[in-house]
């Protein structure tokens, strides 16, 4: 009996190690004093929280703008999430409930955006932001991320909206509700689980984004944290312990948000995929 389960246990162990090793390493280095982050062993010899102290106190050249960068990351993420939700819900309502002409075509061209490799679109997007005079302005990143997130939002919302019976709209109409009242009082509450999933998705997408932020933002105090982390590498002898500590602080909020909304995320994510 146990022997038959051996492959299962072996797979489990492999999955565990595969997942944990890079994250474990991140913590080992972050908890090591600067000089011990080099050729480190499996456990830190003199574990310390001093790296986290340096970051939170902004007491090192490389983290002197830490709090500004954290604020920029948060501002961009919240804005992208809110705008994507607003733009996506409005478009989805027009397409699936009002059934505007050309709704299907709009869904399809939106889908096309989703299929452009992100790094490819980044090049003309950067030049476009220059043309709009938005370079080095957080709004360039916000608009770019909304453009990348909203096609997926519309697609997932289209799948979800089909499950809401149209009879609800009809009966509200008979009761004399206007289009906007139906949107606000019937459609939005019923779509709430999907909106949570999409809002979280857009929030994390924006918080985690590196390339677009790296191209479009330049002033050090106005970078997002992801770009600030990448900039550690500019120095030949990057202070790795400090970098790992900053990385952990940067990674905690989105990971917590993901796990808090995991159920919504997973069902939203797989809703569209399974049927094909």
């Amino acid at each position: 009996m146990t022997l038959r389960k051996l492959p299962l246990y072996a797979t489990g162990l492999a999955v565990f190690l595969w997942t944990v090793i890079p994250i474990y390493h991140l913590f080992v280095i972050a908890l090591s004093p600067a000089q011990e982050a080099v050729a480190s062993g499996l456990v830190p010899k003199h574990p310390t929280l001093q790296n986290f102290g340096l970051v939170l106190g902004a007491q090192h050249n490389l983290v002197q703008y830490f709090w500004y960068q954290l604020a920029t990351s948060a501002f961009v993420a919240v804005m992208v999430s809110a705008i994507t939700l607003a733009v996506g819900a409005c478009a989805n309502y027009a397409i699936t409930r009002i059934r505007i002409r050309g709704g299907r075509a709009i869904t399809n061209i939106a889908l096309l955006t989703y299929l452009i490799p992100a790094a490819f679109l980044a090049i003309p997007m950067y030049k476009t932001m220059g043309y709009y005079r938005l370079v080095d302005n957080p709004w360039s990143l916000i608009f770019a991320m909304v453009a990348l997130a909203s096609p997926y939002a519309i697609w997932v919302m289209n799948q979800a909206a089909r499950k809401i019976p149209r009879e609800l709209d009809e009966s509200a109409k008979i009761d004399g509700a206007t289009t906007l009242q139906i949107f606000w009082h019937v459609y939005l509450p019923l779509m709430a689980p999907t909106l949570v999933a999409i809002g979280t998705y857009a929030l994390l997408l924006a918080w985690n984004e590196y390339l677009y932020a790296f191209l479009m933002l330049a002033t050090e105090a106005r970078l997002t944290l992801s770009v600030a982390l990448g900039n550690f590498l500019v120095f030949d002898d990057a202070p790795w312990a400090l970098l790992m500590a900053t990385g952990i602080i940067y990674a905690l909020p989105p990971t917590a948000v993901y796990y808090a909304f995991r159920r919504y995320m997973v069902s939203g994510l797989t809703a569209g995929a399974v049927k094909s």
Binding site: V38, L269, V274
Partner: protein, 291 residues
Amino acid sequence: MSAVVLPAPAATPRRISDEAFWGAVLITPYLAVFALFVVFPVAYGVWLGSSPTAYRKLFQDPIFFSTIVNTIIFLLVAVNLKMLIALGLSGFFLHEERWVRWLSVLFLIAWAAPSIPTILSFRWMLNPEWGMVNALLFKWFQVEGPGWLTERHYGLGAAILVHIWKSLPFWTLILLAGRMAIPKDLYEAAAVDGATRWQSFRYVTWSSMRGLYITCVLLSTIWSLGDFNSVYLLTGGGPIDSTHVLATLGIRYLRQDQVDVALAAVIVAMPAVIPIVWFMMKRLSGEHVQD
């Protein structure tokens, strides 16, 4: 005009115009975003990347051909390996033991956490001189570890590893959902017919999931083509520009202010990308028709 009799019982004219009005208003924000930040950049990009000199410069750059080779290796190995492992793991996560459930929650962390810190963790771990991997190799086995990030093939291999590490949970989840959608009685019927485990995989699991699997492979191919982070943050395209893929090469030209060459590098991939996108569009939009 009033003589025209409508055959269907229509709503009052006022309501139709109210709906049409709000339909137009509500779709406008998305159309504006799409026009300003997708259509315009793409058109601007095609225009900027349309000079023949850009392509001449690109083809004369010795890095270009090694980049094409790297990109093909990266896509073939990373995508297929990732999807095969995801297919296998989706079967593993089907087990209902409590610890498997917990492991599946933990497994998601690679997908949930932002990629930058973990890629940098890999980078430092694999550093040939100061990283933990080679330090432990030496301590435990007295072996001088290879230059994981300073030799072309190891560097590309490491980038593939990091790419797979990051995106494996996502695809496992999708394929797991696909497996869970297969009706249980198909397996029971196969068992009654005396099917072996391989046969029940081959004739039940695979034949139900083949379409989904192909969709995932194609989608993953396109997205992996746009993976800048795994290469840039791990090797930076080095040593001596030998581990670039098209995504990092394009951005490299852009940072050198050679926008036309950057766009040429992206546009040369289009003959491969467009057929996949076309095929995917048919698959994904076909789904809307189904119900």
